[in-house]
């Protein structure tokens, strides 16, 4: 049995993957919370007196995030107000159960809860989308819609910040995936702790330097209630490759996760390389790199019975959109509904 590295005299219960130090339960709680406090203070994540929406899925990351934010707010007097923001994708057997967990969090942490549903926002539940598109590519819909749903929710609640539960593993995985996919725009911004979209509400990642393993340990030792089932629909295939690589690398040496984040932070895209510019979608007005945002294209595909419309390279999508504009009413799906009646 090893002793706690902080020499408090207790027996260590875990070895920290980030540093290799061994800690007892109490010291681990202190270290874990203090690190997040350090991250928040040092990176100046929140202005005092602000309202923060915490993106809550009911999973371990968002549960720990909500709990730790509440604790730190009390301890260090951040003077922040929190609201839980959940998205109901409409996945039977997954989201309906995890939303119960979020409701439990709402009561436990005394934070108001707002649920935005795909059905209300887009007219489609994920269950319905999957029957249209099949098990492949459905993560594209869910991901695009969720991002926008969170933005819309944050606007509706008039909050100053949106905090998400992305942890160190998630960020390292995204760095690897963006290199493999050659996505320079995302590669250069995926490691920033605050992403400020034009006129939007800044998104912050207070758990950026927290390891997934430690988040699980923290939730376990604190006996937090969280929902731990994987989504019942197929996992994102390409991200899967990056995930497998990261897990294998982590086995060799867990500090690789921090190395990858460091690499991502110190990478810069050439000034000569073409980068997408942010503009507003001509249809719904949300931030987009194209004339029409991905969510609108995907929706149009769904509403006109061509669910594959927005899947694939954005250049190809653009082309097929142009073709549609030439042939019918300009992609507003009016002609389609006329011809079907």
């Amino acid at each position: 049995m090893s002793e706690c590295s902080r020499k408090c005299g207790s027996t260590a219960v875990l070895k920290r993957p980030k540093t290799g130090d061994k800690l007892c339960k109490e010291c681990f709680f202190e270290a874990f919370e203090n690190e997040i406090h350090f991250t928040i203070t040092r990176a100046k994540l929140f202005r005092p007196g602000s309202t923060v929406a915490v993106a809550a899925s009911g999973g371990k990351d968002s549960t720990v995030l909500a709990y730790v934010l509440k604790e730190l707010n009390r301890k260090y007097k951040y003077n922040l107000k929190f609201i839980l923001l959940s998205i109901d994708e409409g996945i039977t057997g997954y989201r309906d159960d995890s939303l119960e967990t979020v409701k439990q969090n709402r009561d436990d942490y005394e934070m108001p809860l707002k649920i935005m549903s795909y059905k209300d926002l887009y007219g489609w539940t994920m269950d319905e989308i999957v029957t249209e598109i099949g098990r492949k590519n459905n993560c594209t819909f869910c991901g695009v819609f969720r991002r926008q749903a969170l933005d819309r929710g944050a606007h509706l609640l008039k909050v100053d910040y949106l905090a998400t539960g992305h942890n160190a593993d998630d960020i390292a995985e995204t760095v690897l995936m963006n290199i493999l996919r050659g996505d320079l725009a995302r590669l250069s911004r995926c490691t920033s702790i605050i992403t400020d979209s034009a006129d939007g509400i800044p998104r912050v990642k207070p758990l950026k330097y927290a390891y997934e393993k430690e988040i699980v340990m923290y939730a376990y030792f604190k006996k937090l209630v969280y929902f731990s089932t994987e989504c019942i629909f197929s996992p994102n295939a390409y991200r899967g490759h990056a995930r497998v690589l990261l897990k294998d690398l982590e086995k060799i040496n867990p500090s690789i996760i921090m190395n990858i984040i460091h690499s991502g932070e110190s990478i810069k895209v050439n000034e000569t390389s073409k980068m997408p510019t942010l503009q507003n979608c001509t249809r719904c007005g949300y931030v987009s790199s194209q004339d029409i945002c991905k969510a609108c294209i995907l929706l149009e595909g769904l509403n006109t019975g061509e669910p594959k419309l927005g899947i694939g390279k954005s250049s190809k999508v653009k082309k097929s959109l142009e073709n549609r504009a030439k042939t019918c009413c300009g992609g507003t799906s009016q002609c389609n509904s006329l011809s079907s009646t």
Binding site: R6, E30, I179, L249, I256, I261, H262, G264, N270
Partner: protein, 404 residues
């Protein structure tokens, strides 16, 4: 076609859709390029070429890459790092045939080859045999070859006086000298590989200076470059990606390293050698491959992904080509181990600080006092190493002190 299944029913297999699941690829009738000859090579799983078009385009690709950068002047000496295999042979043949051209397109620089002996894990007889084979092999290309030893270089404290000779028999091949390297590899394969890469680079530059070469050609292929890029990311060397994987590495002010084979894959060069009737020398270049090192793991990952997603390597390469380094207003300071510029912090909180804070908070009995906004929690301001080399420094110190 019929078969009887377990239940005894007769089934028509043609209707079960099994055969329709096979995708047949119809081979192109004519070469993609000249549209005349019968093709004999398929590249990128789709493009068919005849022999002569394939050879022309391969040589063209090599010369186009050199020509695009216009770095080498007539009469410059170029050190060619030869380490065996198909890539080395193809590179030598590219050079020989294009130096011998009688057209204005002929190459006009002077190549000199270098072989670095680092096979301490083989027996003395095997090592001498390798050296002799290489020595004789070089005669067919009529390019002078020099020999030097990596372990000798490390043992002599990276001295400029390390033996560099045309006569391979002068090399000291004592198996004991590799023990330090073996120790390193046993402690951490990933870091030992990284140390070896850094040392080879230093040795190449030192030899190039002695032989008055302004340039060095190294034989990395596209797959090697893609793997190196991911290895850099995993080692925390993200900011060195342009230097470590780009066409040219300008870290040294006197000698520039060029990677003229970074647009080729092994299949192209092996076929090139086959069509030109060239035999390559295959050496056991490394220790047996294991999954314990970052480098081997990533190499296997890239090769596997490449079989299912044939665009993987080119995508990764192109991503790398579009990256550059964050520059300080003043010049960045240089890491004394890898000679790369040291990263400058561009945000309010860096990974380095987060790690240092974590370590401090997990080892000190009392909570860290002081100002959380200003304290640097063990982060060295005037660090002499880059983020990644600070690990290597500790690793080398701990290995050498253990020996004493």
């Amino acid at each position: 076609m019929c078969s009887v299944n377990d239940a005894g029913d007769i089934e028509d297999l043609n209707n079960t859709g099994l055969l329709s699941n096979f995708k047949y690829k119809v081979l192109a009738e004519k070469c993609n390029k000249c549209k005349d000859e019968k093709p004999c090579v398929i590249l990128r799983k789709k493009d068919a070429y005849c022999k002569s078009c394939f050879l022309t385009s391969t040589v063209h690709k090599f010369k186009a890459l050199l020509g695009k950068h216009k770095l080498i002047k007539d009469g410059d000496k170029v050190l060619v790092y030869y380490h065996g295999g198909h890539s080395g042979t193809a590179l030598l043949h590219f050079l020989r045939t294009n130096l011998d051209l009688n057209s204005p397109k002929k190459l006009r620089f002077i190549p000199v080859c270098l072989f670095i002996e680092k096979h301490y894990f083989l027996s003395r007889e095997e090592r001498i045999d390798n050296l002799r084979r290489i020595f004789n092999y070089m005669r067919t290309f009529d390019i002078p070859i020099y020999f030097t030893s990596l372990t000798d270089y490390c043992k002599n404290g990276f001295s400029e006086n390390t033996l560099l000779t045309k006569n391979f028999e002068e090399l000291e091949l004592d198996n004991k000298e590799g023990e330090f390297m073996k120790d390193l590899f046993e402690k951490s394969e990933s870091l030992a590989n990284d140390v070896q890469t850094i040392n080879i680079r230093k040795l190449l530059i030192s030899c190039a200076k002695k032989l008055k070469c302004k340039f060095i050609f190294t034989p990395e292929l596209a797959t090697d470059i893609a793997s190196q890029l991911l290895v850099n990311t995993a080692l925390g060397r993200g900011s060195h990606i342009p230097l470590d994987t780009g066409f040219c590495d300008t870290r040294n002010e006197h000698v520039t390293i060029l990677r003229p084979l970074r647009v080729f894959d092994i299949k192209e060069l092996a076929l090139y050698n086959h069509f030109c009737n060239l035999d390559a020398i295959m050496l056991q270049t490394d220790l047996p491959k294991s999954q314990k090192s970052i480098q081997n793991l990533i190499e296997n990952f890239v090769i596997d992904l490449q079989t299912n997603f044939p665009a993987t390597v080119t995508t990764v390469l192109k991503t790398g080509d579009k990256l550059s380094m964050k520059k300080n207003k003043n010049e960045n300071r240089i890491c004394y181990i890898c000679q790369s510029p040291i990263e400058v912090a561009c945000q309010q909180l860096t990974t380095d600080e987060a790690i240092k804070y974590s370590h401090q908070i997990s080892t000190q009995p009392e909570l860290v006092g002081g100002d959380i906004l200003k304290d640097n929690f063990g982060t060295v301001i005037d660090t002499k190493t880059c983020f990644s080399c600070s690990r290597i420094e500790q690793f080398l110190i701990s290995t050498s002190t253990e020996k004493v």
